[in-house]
Point group: C2
Chain length 349, copies 2
């Protein structure tokens, strides 16, 4: 085991005590427990839209350490970690993967058969299992530029997830891609669709701040209509056919219905919004004859490419962080996102 001797004994970490009740506690710094583990000193943390499900009481929670998005520097590593060193600055996905099973090799590390676990990343330090298969080193170490750091942090989940939606929607040259959902993931799907070469990107949004960022990220059209009117608008913009691909980035029945209604026959729906009480009718799917792919994003697949695009300044996904707060103010970060005052909040650790 290699260790950086400056690791302290304790740290501050965000805990959700119960729905709506977030605080910051002092707990032990996690240490390497298995030979494939590393411990990261986090460079920044953040709150995810999916953290709002338990916050709102729509998912069970009881004194849970929070956070699954992370960038940081390795301060300790187990004996079997062979591709990374103490001192490396890394980005990782919210799903840990061995990188070697057939599922990982086929591009779905999000469903690795040996999936590992990590400690909460809304903290100063975290332990990450399966480090070799899960983490990607950023050349040049931790960036001095806080905006660049935010870009890398976004890659850990919202960018990687939006990217997956756009890939599953087959975004590319000549294609019109519609995006349902104007949260951080939806906005990153807009960015991804454009970066992948989509000819026209249509964003659904009714919030001027989010619509503005969607446009900045590459949306050619923002439509406020929803339901049948929204789908009709997409058809109007696509010679009556519907979008070639749709990214679904919410996870509700309404958003899935919107996605299915907006895509053309033979088209592609990439769904990445964590599904809550969605039901799909088989006859409807049969009749629509579309491709459907979704689930937890295989972010690790995209990280090397995303890191390059961030390094070169081609993309600036960190703009989804509309607010920065110290880790100690995590409760306010949750509140601001719950009330939709902010798109996404970065926590300075």
């Amino acid at each position: 085991m290699s260790t950086n001797p400056t690791i302290p004994a304790t740290m501050r970490a965000v805990v959700m005590n119960a729905p709506g009740d977030v605080s910051v506690e002092t707990i032990d710094v996690p240490r390497v427990a298995k030979p494939g583990d590393v411990v990261l000193k986090l460079a920044a943390a953040c709150v995810c839209g999916s953290d709002l499900w338990p916050y709102r009481g729509l998912q069970q929670v009881d004194h849970q350490y929070m956070g699954h998005e992370y960038v940081g520097t390795i301060v300790e590593k187990g004996d079997e970690v062979s591709t990374l060193e103490v001192g490396d600055f890394v980005v990782g996905s919210f799903m840990l993967s061995d990188g070697t099973c057939e599922i990982c090799q086929a591009g779905y590390p999000s469903r690795c058969v040996n999936a590992g676990t990590f400690t909460g990343s809304q903290a100063q330090y975290m332990r990450v299992e399966l480090a070799d298969g899960s983490l990607v080193k950023v050349p040049g170490g931790e960036p001095d530029d806080p905006d660049k750091l935010a870009d890398y942090l976004a890659a850990s989940d919202v960018l990687g997830t939006g990217w997956y939606a756009a890939v599953a929607a087959q975004a590319g040259p000549g294609k019109t891609i519609a995006v349902v959902g104007d949260g951080a993931v939806g906005l990153c799907a807009v960015l991804a669709a454009k970066a992948l070469g989509a000819e026209k990107v249509i964003a659904f949004s009714r919030h001027e701040d989010r619509a503005a960022l969607a446009r900045e990220f590459g949306a050619d059209v923002v439509i406020a209509e929803r339901g049948e009117e929204g789908a009709a608008k997409v058809k109007e913009l696509t010679n009556g056919y519907g979008a070639h691909g749709v990214c679904e980035a919410v996870g509700t029945q309404g958003s899935m219905d919107q996605a299915l209604a907006s895509v053309r026959p033979g088209g592609y729906v990439g769904f990445v919004g964590v599904s809550h009480d969605q039901t799909l009718d088989g006859s409807d799917l049969f009749r629509r004859e579309v491709h459907l792919e979704g689930g937890p994003a295989p972010v690790r697949r995209f990280l090397p490419d995303l890191i390059k695009r961030i390094q070169t300044g081609e993309i600036h996904p960190g703009k989804v962080f509309t607010k920065r707060l110290p880790l100690e103010e995590a409760a306010e970060a949750y509140k601001a996102m719950d009330e939709r005052r902010e798109i996404k909040v970065l926590l300075e650790v």
Copy 2:
């Protein structure tokens, strides 16, 4: 308009009067009505598994002329038909398509925005709209060999549909493909998966006659288990991962559940069984993270390739016809299929 002067005034045609009640009537021979139409003298007809839904009272029916699978010779054509001639022997799909809209061009003629209609093909003659976009000429004219004729007739639906399932399941070299459903479509999916190069094809079947044909069509393994046991068997045969792709060729909740339970994460489910009362749970789909594609098969996309493979004798899909009966005995053909005494019945016209 070009016409073969031997067209008679009347013909025999199969009619479903009500569930379970099939007869043969004398009616007028259909003639060209629109400039894009042709009239075919059918070379053979057949009963489809989907014809059994109304036969069993599970779909409304009231004095309906039946049949949507066909091969035949053009005996009359409208003025705008430009790629086909009277005398051409053709195969067509059960979905008519203009071949020019963006949906057709993208490979989904089954969802052509200008989809045409036809008269029932369980008859001596039929009218087909959108002939240029829908029909494919077989070089060399009507085959003398009745087995070859049966092969072409199968291409019109069951082979084309099984092929679509295998393509949607991404059958190819190195892949293990499982097929749910041992009807004519499922059996053709087995044939298709093997013809497309799949390394291992697993067929679900509990009927020895069907299992035997599945093996003849290329199934490496036939499993009798269903439900969780069936899925466990597929996993056993795939290093614990599940099949790379699954073809769902029934259309029931049970068959869809079987397909989803048998595929690996990141894998592909091609569903072509006409969906009846199927419900898919969004969270389950999200968790499984598989690709899903299905609907009425875009048979026209595959016909040129299928015709070549039939001509060269590479594939013999006509073996799904386990019985031949004269058109006049259509009632017995339906009965034999309803009672599962025969896999598929060819009607000699």
